[in-house]
């Protein structure tokens, strides 16, 4: 098992290198790990999922609202099936809550029928229109003025952090080399690709570009200019777990002329998320929240779920989507170059990730990658971060076997020292205290470290020594 975070890269030549260890790149590496090949997964950051993947809206989509006939529509539909099964097998928290697209004005109400029809064209047949009385009965805390909703029972919430980590963990355990802090600076293509990275040269026969916000830049290094990634910022507010009782479904907005709009959704961590905004930027690092953005979210949130605004805010963050201006994924194969670009993967990429991975491996095979000898991977079992599932602090048998699971370090999130110890010693260890938070929830609660920050940091530093 190899994870490196510094120093020179191993010599020799990889069969396939995946650039970008987000949810899509990690899924591709995992899929490739089934083959008897030498595979590398590289990322500029110090952890997997550090880019767009970590700030996803965390919904496992049915694909009901995709553009019918698009690649995205197919991959989201397939990916939803694949990831649902994989999550059950590997312990990724998923809560099948169902979604309601709530109509607040006549225009939105009128759009529901078209959305129901679109769902059918996307192969999703369970969506139906619910009348205002039913919507109110199912979501009693909704603000006044509900005119109806599209009921999409198949939508779920999922843990995006565990998903990426499960893929990367399984890939590494199956022989993939994961190189972090490894930024691709240049590429020379020939019989092999030679990548110049911040950690020295890397030689590879095949290359997969899953670099998210930077997929266009990598593409240009390889001589392609098919698309430009415009970072689209989404700011989100996460409310304390006491808000969780206010909402039972994923409350999706009805898309209108002004874009997709703001949703209110429970999270698998037992909280409630409000967002995202949609702002096109030109800075691919600008993941800051703004006063204006937060004000817009609060105003919209107050209309959707008035009581929400009285609850304490646990976290505010912003993520960037890799928007390309195109309505579909930009997955392009260049067989002669033994190169595949996986670009323009937006919010739905989490749901579609396993289907994207299978699609990419097919494209590589079409380009000559030998795919004989595929094997089943050893299953992984990830630690549970979901509030709806048994957590270690409540597990008497586990604590009896190992008292460290009874030693609560992060009080708000009830994270035990045993879980922190395990995360720090895991196949893919965290690169920072924030990475530790995404693996355990430690320091992710209402006090944001007032009580446990120093203790958690001490455990992190100790493990690094």
């Amino acid at each position: 098992m190899t994870v490196t975070v510094g120093g020179g890269l191993p010599g020799g030549q990889y069969d396939v290198t995946v650039v970008g260890a987000g949810v899509v790149g990690s899924a591709v590496a995992r899929e490739l790990a089934r083959l008897p090949l030498r595979i590398a997964l590289v990322d500029a950051a110090d952890d997997v999922g550090e880019g767009t993947s970590k700030a996803n809206t965390a919904i496992l989509h049915t694909g009901f609202d995709a553009v019918p006939g698009s690649l995205e529509s197919r991959l989201v539909r397939e990916g939803q099936r694949l990831l649902s099964a994989y999550a059950a097998e590997s312990g990724i928290p998923v809560e099948p809550l169902g979604a309601l697209l709530v109509a607040w004005d006549e225009e939105q109400r009128a759009a529901l029928a078209g959305l129901a029809d679109k769902a059918v064209r996307n192969g999703y047949r369970a969506a139906r229109i619910a009348l205002p009385e039913e919507v109110r009965a199912r979501e009693p805390e909704l603000g006044p003025g509900v005119l109806g909703a599209l009921d999409v029972p198949g939508e779920s919430v999922i843990c995006p952090w565990t998903t990426t980590l499960a893929y990367a963990t399984q890939a590494v355990r199956s022989g993939v080399d994961l190189h972090l802090n490894c930024r691709v600076l240049d590429a020379i293509s020939g019989d092999v690709h030679t990548l110049t990275t911040s950690r020295g040269p890397l030689r590879t026969r095949y290359l997969v570009n899953a670099a998210g916000l930077y997929a266009d830049a990598i593409d240009r290094l390889l001589g392609h200019a098919d698309f430009t990634v415009t970072p689209r910022r989404g700011q989100l507010i996460v409310f304390d777990e006491f808000a969780r009782g206010l909402v039972r479904h994923i409350l999706l907005p009805v898309p209108g002329a002004l874009g997709k709009g703001v949703l209110v959704s429970p999270t698998v961590y037992g909280k409630v998320m409000l967002g995202p905004t949609a702002e096109d930027l030109d800075d691919k690092t600008d993941t800051g929240s703004t006063a204006a953005g937060l004000a817009v979210l609060r105003e919209k949130g107050r209309r959707i779920l008035p009581a929400l605004l009285d609850e304490e805010v646990t976290a505010v963050y912003a993520g960037l989507r890799a928007a390309t201006g195109d309505e579909d994924y930009a997955i392009r194969s260049h067989p002669a170059q033994r190169y595949v670009t996986v670009g323009g993967i937006r919010s739905t990429g989490l749901t579609a990730s396993m289907a994207i991975a299978a699609h990419v491996v097919e494209l590589l095979a079409d380009g000559g990658l030998p795919v004989a000898g595929a094997r089943d991977l050893e299953p992984v079992r990830m630690p549970n971060l979901g509030e709806a599932f048994p957590r270690p602090y409540r597990d008497a048998e586990l604590i009896a076997r190992d008292p460290e699971y009874g030693r609560i370090v992060c009080h708000c999130e009830r994270v035990t020292r045993g879980e922190i110890r395990d995360a720090l010693a895991a196949t893919v260890p965290p690169g920072s205290p924030d990475g530790l938070r995404r693996r355990t929830r430690a320091r992710g609660g209402r006090c944001q470290g007032f009580h446990c920050g120093a203790a958690v940091r001490a455990l992190f530093e100790e493990a690094r020594r």
Binding site: F242, V316, Y393, R394, E404, G406, R407, C412, Q448, R457
Partner: protein, 398 residues
């Protein structure tokens, strides 16, 4: 397997209030008095407050850790059991708590439960301060623990948000850790300045900047002037909120002003047999004030143990702006000690009035300036004139 146990009094939280109450109760022969502390060490926030003043007028040099140690020793010497590393995670019944510790899961049932869970400072996120999410963003509590309990490095240049006593302690802790406090920022028109640290009043933090590590704090004065303070650390101080999770999980009524459990003057909550004391009631007061509440609650807890009935909740005490809270906030009998009253804004010579159903119960002018971080103490004499069956008792300041 979950172990079931019973005790006479279960106190949740081994800070000044909980420990003082436990010492009183154990000393008065209340039977088995058990204090649960989720941290590895008992003593509460004073454990990481390395400054003097904890001994009151008699021993002003006494620092927090020494005070905490003495409070633990007193409780134990009186016969109370203080258990650390034990977290009350929820309720199993009206007077039964579920706990987790390295020894396993327990269900502890008591004849009286006391919530002494303390308070915390609201972090940057809860204050909706926009910007990036770099390292180096702290509350005073995290800063003090980092420096005093763990000996960790903090940055070199820090901005302190707030200008109340706790902000002064933050500045001192930063200096002890070798960091420079480059400015104090407060949205109020005045604050407590610390010698050597520029104080920016009527100023708001509008953005945090930096990738990986904080690089600066953007501020704006109320007259529109703005700028960026270069720093690698920012400490958000004050803005206390009771740690009311257990109370809320138990369905215990909270006061909208304090955000702590609603209590009467005998520290009785809305749940029969459940009391609440200390900073869990109202956010931060000095350790001595929290301890005094713990001591004052002992008579009511003893009365409960000997079968005294739980009174119907009396009329609520409510405040009008600029006041933000009063504690206690229900009246079921005559109060035996002063009530605490907070304003959200600085007041000068305020006239405080208490009225019920249009009937004036009390009025007094308080001389001098009253900052928003210090409670006014209302003498309790008027509380015997409250009509127990009447409407809300309204406290105003003008």
């Amino acid at each position: 397997m979950t172990r079931d146990r019973t005790v006479d009094v279960l106190v949740v939280g081994a800070g000044p209030a909980g420990l003082t109450l436990a010492a009183r109760l154990a000393g008065a022969g209340a039977g088995r008095v058990e204090v649960l502390e989720r941290e590895q060490d008992a003593g509460g926030a004073p454990r990481h407050c390395h400054h003097g003043g904890f001994g009151g007028l008699l021993r002003p040099w006494l620092a927090g850790p020494a005070y905490a140690r003495l409070a633990v020793e007193a409780a134990v010497a009186a016969g109370a059991t203080v258990r650390t590393g034990v977290t009350a995670t929820g309720w199993a019944g009206p007077l039964s708590l579920e706990t987790t510790s390295p020894a396993g899961l327990e269900r502890i049932t008591a004849r009286a439960v006391v919530l002494a869970t303390g308070a915390r400072e609201r972090p940057r996120s809860a204050r909706l301060v926009p910007g990036s999410r770099p390292a180096g963003v702290l509350t005073t509590g995290e800063l003090q623990q980092s420096v005093h309990l763990y000996g960790q490095e903090v940055g070199r240049r820090a901005v302190v948000v707030g200008a109340e006593p706790v902000a002064r302690h933050a500045v001192r802790t930063l200096r002890r850790a070798g960091a420079e406090a480059v400015a104090q920022v407060t949205e109020h028109s005045r604050g407590i300045a610390v010698p050597g640290v520029p104080l920016l009043t009527a100023t708001t933090v509008v953005e945090l900047r930096g990738r990986g590590r904080l690089s600066g704090v953007a501020v704006r004065h109320e007259d529109g002037r703005s700028g960026v303070l270069a720093c690698d650390t920012v400490v958000f101080t004050g803005d206390w909120i009771p740690d009311h999770e257990l109370a809320r999980r138990g369905g215990i009524a909270l006061d909208p002003g304090t955000r702590g459990p609603c209590v009467d003057a005998s520290f009785r909550t809305s749940a029969p047999g459940v009391f609440a004391v200390g900073n869990a009631l109202h956010g931060v007061e000095r350790a001595a004030a929290a301890a005094a509440e713990g001591a004052a609650a002992s008579a009511a807890v003893l009365a409960r143990l000997s079968g005294a009935p739980w009174p119907e909740p009396g009329p609520p005490l409510v405040v009008r702006a600029p006041l933000v809270w009063v504690s206690p906030n229900r009246l079921t009998g005559t109060a035996g000690r002063p009530l605490l009253l907070r304003s959200g804004e600085p007041l000068t010579g305020p006239v405080v009035t208490v009225a019920q159903d249009g009937r004036l119960l009390w009025r007094r002018r308080f001389p001098g300036r009253v900052p928003p971080w210090r409670s006014l103490r209302l003498p309790p004499g008027w509380t015997d004139r409250v009509d127990r069956g009447g409407g809300p008792v309204v406290v105003t300041a003008g």
